[in-house]
Symmetry: none
């Protein structure tokens, strides 16, 4: 079942206000299994007439919002009646309700609000003067075929439209939708570029003959949402397990809408663990992320931002000789930073980062995008992992370093060998 969505409002096409209906209606309709063909915003000048002609051929449902007010430029009800080939008639229920609201003023501009296309059903509006209405009619397509279309008109103000939609339109559409939405699984993917993930999905689909599986990606600041749909549940499970073994451990989580930081902090909370940080190149980003959620003081102690070498020595306890011998971006420094801050803080865990975010400061053996991430724990030997990202910007490098630290820190806390895990990350 397909839907075209029309938002009528000159204030929107002139950029005075922003649309507030498209997302609300689209998400509801998608949930019910409808496919949105298009969402169109048109001015309040009758343009809707030409637009309605276009969509009749390819949409089962036409949702129209706005253009039902009492002012002269609200032509919608007349246009829909003409489209359906019926006259506008006074609806007694609408008239009575309107009379209760506006009294004698009904004999003026408001009067037309009690008229709806003949044969259409009234959608009551307890929150304003304009009721909505709904009706179906047959429409001749450009190719000569005849097609049944249902038009639903609702008032423009969100405070009137939303309750009307939820109480009267959504239940009707739910019943009307005879089919079940395609099964769709959602995953969170970390550290893999969107274009590369798409390539890997294609490879997976080809290599394992999973042509009926389709996928889509959505880039978000700290992760990519991967949607896998089509096929049977076991085919989708095969697809994702093959994809997982391609990209390595920890980079695809089936957590619905969950970023790496939430996964780690959930783990800390569930296991009653505390953490501290020592950050050089990321300079506080990991700490900031760890405290994005309220109540973070239950697991987060604080940390050291050790940008200068003297900061690494003074507040994270790194030895001057370590810095001199191995450099600031090294396994040894990362480990000493993590151990050092854990000693000061007394937390269960500590994570450290030291790397080259660029664009300057790289060298042949430590190019821009290199980071050492250190881990320290009261219960396990310290460890450090080196990653090299082909990063496109300083900002993205620092974001990737941080996500890698958060992903690995959870695995480290779970007792996994993070050095081995990181070796499986072939596509970051």
């Amino acid at each position: 079942m397909t839907v075209s969505l029309y938002v009528i409002g000159t204030e929107i096409t002139r950029g005075i206000i922003s649309d507030r209906h498209i997302q609300f209606l689209s998400s509801n309709l998608t949930e019910l299994g409808y496919t949105i063909r298009r969402a169109v915003v048109v001015p309040d000048d009758g343009s809707i007439e030409a637009e309605l002609e276009v969509c009749a051929a390819d949409s089962d449902i036409v949702l129209v919002t706005g253009g039902l007010g009492p002012t002269a430029d609200d032509l919608t009800r007349r246009i829909i009646a003409r489209e359906a080939g019926v006259p506008l008639v006074r609806n007694q229920e609408a008239w009575d309700t309107l009379y209760k609201r506006v009294g004698e003023r009904i004999h003026g501009a408001n009067e037309q609000q009690a008229y709806i296309p003949q044969g259409f059903e009234l959608l009551p509006n307890p929150n304003g003067t304009a009721p909505g209405f709904r009706g179906s009619f047959e429409k001749k397509c450009p190719d000569g075929s005849v097609h049944c279309v249902t038009v639903i008109a609702m008032p423009g103000p969100p405070a009137e439209l939303q309750p009307m939609f939820l109480n009267h339109v959504r239940p009707y559409l739910a019943k009307l939708a005879g089919h079940v939405e395609e099964q769709r699984d959602e995953y969170s993917v970390y550290l893999i570029a969107e274009a590369r993930l798409d390539e890997l999905c294609r490879r997976c689909s080809e290599e394992y003959n999973l042509a009926n599986i389709s996928w889509g990606t959505r880039f978000q600041q700290f992760r990519i949402s991967l949607y896998v749909q089509g096929g049977s549940a076991s085919e989708r499970a095969l697809f994702i397990s093959k994809l997982r073994s391609m990209v390595g451990e920890g980079l695809i989580e089936d957590a619905d809408d969950t970023d790496a930081c939430t996964l780690l902090t959930n783990y800390l909370i569930e296991n009653n663990l505390t953490i501290s940080t020592a950050e050089s190149c990321t300079a506080g980003l990991v700490s900031k992320m760890l405290t994005d959620r309220s109540g973070s003081s239950s697991y987060f102690w604080g940390g050291a931002v050790t940008y200068a070498n003297s900061a690494k020595q003074k507040i994270a306890g790194v030895c001057a000789s370590t810095l001199e011998k191995f450099g600031a971006v090294s396994r040894q420094t990362a480990c000493e930073m993590a151990d050092g801050i854990r000693q000061v803080s007394g937390t269960d865990l500590a994570v450290s980062l030291t790397g080259i975010a660029g664009p300057d400061g790289g060298s042949a053996d430590k190019p821009v995008g290199t980071v050492w991430i250190g881990f320290s724990s009261a219960k396990a030997p310290s460890a450090a992992v080196c990653l090299k990202f082909a990063s496109i910007s300083r900002d993205s490098a620092r974001r990737r370093f941080s996500i890698a630290a958060l992903v690995l820190c959870r695995l480290y806390a779970m007792g996994r060998d993070v050095v081995t895990v990181a070796e499986t990350w072939k596509y970051i």
Copy 2:
């Protein structure tokens, strides 16, 4: 001159995210004297092709956003080329730019992003991998007449589209419309909500009879851009000086496109000063911002993220008795944090933050949104400022705290009395 606007994005037609382009583009186009015929949102599945057919007859300009990414479902460039009746050809400038960003990974999904329709002009994209393009061609209308249409395609992410539109598309459209661009001044405004800024501008215009001055605002993550246009240069100067005296010192800077952090770090670099931080509620956000630019090691030493009280004592040198007597969110703690970290670091300046970001942890005298910001310097007495923000979320509270610290820190470094300055901030 008429425009049709196409927003391509399955995430929008599925209701996962809301559209962010229609209002931005419509308000700009309306300002230039264009009429928007329709704004259409379509999924990323090739639907745009049928839509483009429809609008060719009634629009002089077709603006297309999105669908230029590297994944398989981004069909836009192919469809536009077909519509124009030309092949897609590799654009050397686009290829070179892309190669610089992604290197050898260009030989894969990214490759197609260097192709644009033959004869079209490239619109460079310094903020992403997908360049835009623009071209005109003749289109046969359903009634047989021939009509010239200009198609302009831009990438979907707002951070890429907006600068491309403002720098390359708006000037082109202004010229095309025979529109003389009005003189326009741009300002950066900090800490004042967009709606309130608009109110203050209106008040200013009314109180000082500046009816021919118009203004526009654009919300950005860490500031609001304020555009002032119309009238004479002296009227615009009067407007902004009145507005400045209304809102207080330091909150409106004429710096074009400059955030508070850049203003501070520019000042530090110019004056060869170093800085360290001690952050509680912001937990690293200020440090992260101070190091967003490359070369920040010339002025940034590092700092302490002192979330727990024991962290305030152990790495920022706050006395246990101070915490006990005055609490963590107090003038005394803020001052000791700033003094403490400056003593460890030996930097010229230090800034500290301790506050209540919420949503929990507030009390009657220290409600959510309260922050103490401390300043320490080798050359001036320490100072601390208390601000109370009516914040809408934890995230926005932490962002405002950080911006306030950056704005005040520059004024403090310049020798201003920050306590008095903050008292003039009536509308934050």
